[in-house]
Subunit: 203 residues, 2 copies
C-alpha cells in the first residue's frame, strides 16, 4: 500500500505505462490541434504527469513525434506483409490489401492525420527515414500491380507508380473528411475504394 497515493496519480484514467500514456495522449492532441499548437505543458497535463517525466523518456518534443511515426510505420508494414505474402490470385490479394489499408486507416485516423500533416516538423534526417520506409511500403503495392499486368489481368498502359500514388493519395486523404459518426464504416469504404481501384485496372 505504500505506493497507493503515487499510483492514484500515475495510473489515473489508464493502466498504461507513462511512456505509453504520453504516446497515446500526444497522438490525440497532435491530431486535434496540430503538433505546433500543442505545448509540452498541455501534453503532460493531459497525460497526468509532469515535464520531468516526459523528458525522462523522450529527449525532445520532436523525439516524441518521431516515436508516433515509428509506431505507425511498424503497424502498416506488418499489415501489408501479411496480405502481400498470402496466397491466391493477384487481383484478390490486391483487393484485400487495398481494402485493409483503408480499414486500418479509418481505425487509426489520428495517426493518419498526424502522419501527413506533421512530416515537415520532423528533423530532416528523420523525415527522410520516414519517407524511405514509406517508399518500401509503396514498392510492395507496386509489385503486385506489375505482377498482375504481366499476368494480363491488369492493364499495362498506365505506369504502376501512378496507380499507387493515386490510390494512396486517396487513402491518406481520408483523415481530412472521414468522421466515425458518418453513415459508412471503414469496411464499407474500403470495399468501395478497392473496387474502384480494381475497376480502373481492368484491361
Amino acid at each position: 500500500m505504500t505506493g497507493t497515493a503515487g499510483q492514484d496519480r500515475a495510473e489515473r484514467r489508464s493502466s498504461l505505462s507513462v511512456p505509453d500514456r504520453l504516446l497515446s495522449v500526444a497522438t490525440r492532441l497532435f491530431a486535434e490541434r496540430g503538433f505546433e499548437r500543442t505545448s509540452v505543458q498541455e501534453l503532460v497535463d493531459a497525460a497526468g504527469v509532469t515535464k520531468g517525466a516526459m523528458y525522462h523518456y523522450f529527449s525532445s518534443k520532436d523525439d516524441l513525434l518521431y516515436a508516433i511515426y515509428q509506431r505507425v510505420l511498424a503497424m502498416q508494414t506488418r499489415r501489408l506483409n501479411e496480405f502481400a505474402q498470402a496466397g491466391g490470385p493477384v487481383e484478390e490479394r490486391l483487393r484485400a490489401a487495398a481494402a485493409d489499408v483503408v480499414h486500418t486507416t479509418v481505425d487509426n485516423l489520428d495517426d493518419t492525420v498526424i502522419f501527413f500533416r506533421s512530416l515537415h516538423m520532423l528533423s530532416p534526417d528523420r523525415q527522410s527515414a520516414v519517407r524511405k520506409e514509406r517508399r518500401r511500403y509503396h514498392e510492395c503495392f507496386r509489385a503486385m500491380i506489375e505482377e498482375g499486368a504481366r499476368a494480363g489481368v491488369f492493364r499495362s498502359d498506365v505506369p504502376a507508380d501512378i496507380v499507387v500514388t493515386q490510390y494512396f493519395g486517396a487513402v491518406h486523404h481520408l483523415g481530412m473528411w472521414y468522421r466515425p459518426e458518418g453513415q459508412l464504416g471503414g469496411a464499407e469504404i474500403g470495399a468501395y475504394y478497392a473496387d474502384l481501384l480494381l475497376a480502373s485496372l481492368r484491361p
Copy 2:
C-alpha cells in the same frame, strides 16, 4: 532625387505591390517550412519590407494565411466552372475537368501543400468557411458523375461521393510527392489520373 533611395528599397526584386509581394513570399515560405515554422520576421525580411508594412495590410499572421486560401479557392472555382459549363458529352466534360485540376494543382504546388497541411491553423470560423467553399467545389464534380450515372455511361453502384473524395484525395496528395524536376509533367499525370477515373466509372 528625393525618392530614389526609397524606391530602391520598396521595389527591389519585384514590381509587385507590397501586399502582393507578401502573399507571394508567404506562399513559398509556408510551403517550404510550414506556417508555424515561418516567423513574421523571416517573412518580412524575405519580402524586403518591415513588420509595420505587413501589419498595415494584414491584421494578423492568420489573416495573411487566409488571404492565400481565398486566392486559391477563387482560382479553383473559376477553373471548374469553365469546364462544368462547357458543352459536349458528360464523360468528356468530366475527363477534361479531372485532368485540368491535376494540371493546375501541379502548376501551383505551393498553394496545394499549404492548403491541406495548414487548414487547422486557421481560426475555426475561417476553417469552416474554407470547408464550405470546398464543399461547393466537390458538389459540382459530383453532379457530373451523377448525371453520367443517370445517362447510363457511368456505373451507379458506387456512391458518387465516394468517387469524388477518392479522386480529390489523390489530387491533394500530389503536393506530397510530385517534384517538377521529375519525368512526368502536369499534363501527363492529369491525363493518367483522368483516365483511371473514367475507367473506374465504366458500367
